[in-house]
Symmetry: C2
Subunit: 146 residues, 2 copies
DNA sequence: CTGGATCCCGTTGGATACTG
DNA sequence: CAGTATCCAACGGGATCCAG
């Protein structure tokens, strides 16, 4: 399952970087890169997307339970934001007590796939990252002590 | 270039979600998902990785110029953090004036590929997202006025 | 040129209480 | 149950000055 990067692939991405960061390619002050970073760069959006998963509608409290540590407020805010961007659908049932369900839109599911590839990366290199951190901290500690 | 999600793919990811979020699979309180979110979830890490790109070493000020809007402080902080996690190498030359160069490690390059797939998603759906936002805001405004 | 140290402000986000 | 409203602490991150 090792991913190898060949020359061609590298050049393709290299090229993308250049065109993507050229201000002429996004004149309206809307840089898609920054935008995607902002979208996923908050504390909870990615976790919400991952927990929504495929095909099933989840209720508010189901999500709240699944996403460990999220507050009610932040779940609401996060879901609203995702809904605004067209990544999740929100279904409100006129019942008492109220029932609200959420699901990923097709666009959101496409994003989910990409996000899981990121997660795969994290799994693959988890040990190496922890190791690197430990080594770095050890060296830093030694430097401070001397 | 349309990405289609088939049943098998969906089930695979579904399964991953379950195993990944099962506390028994990461007992030491270290959840790889949360960790990767934290890693990329800050304002500048992704942009730094994207700008580092493949194979070339970049100097501090080159990066500072390329990453529009980043402050000196945050570039330093971000690069240190990436170095600590083993995603970038840092080369210091004993010169006057000093010269410091950065490059992605192999592990960092693997991440770069994933990140660019995210960026691809952003490009593909950029218009749709903006449209969705506009529609959402329009509806919200109407509701407020009434 | 690179980047550490400090100061300081705006935003994020948690806790809590209240509503349809 | 699924929110909204308010308050407030913590933190991110910009500006500035200083140093090797």
């Amino acid at each position: 399952m090792e991913v190898t990067i060949n020359e061609t692939q590298a050049n393709t991405i290299q090229e993308k970087v250049k065109t993507f960061f050229d201000p002429n390619n996004h004149p309206a002050g809307f840089c898609p890169v920054k935008d995607v970073v902002d979208r996923i760069g908050d504390k909870w959006s990615l976790l919400a997307i991952l927990n929504l998963g495929y095909g099933e509608r989840l209720r508010f409290n189901q999500l709240k339970t699944q996403i460990e540590g999220i507050s009610q407020r932040m779940l609401t805010v996060t879901l609203r934001s995702l809904e605004r961007d067209g990544l999740v659908n929100r279904y409100v049932y006129a019942e008492v007590p109220p029932r609200v369900e959420y699901e990923l839109t097709p666009m959101g599911e496409k994003l989910l796939v990409k996000v899981w590839e990121l997660a795969d990366w994290a799994i693959e290199y988890k040990a190496q990252i922890l190791e690197s951190r430990a080594a770095y901290d050890k060296k830093a500690a030694k430097k401070t002590r001397s």
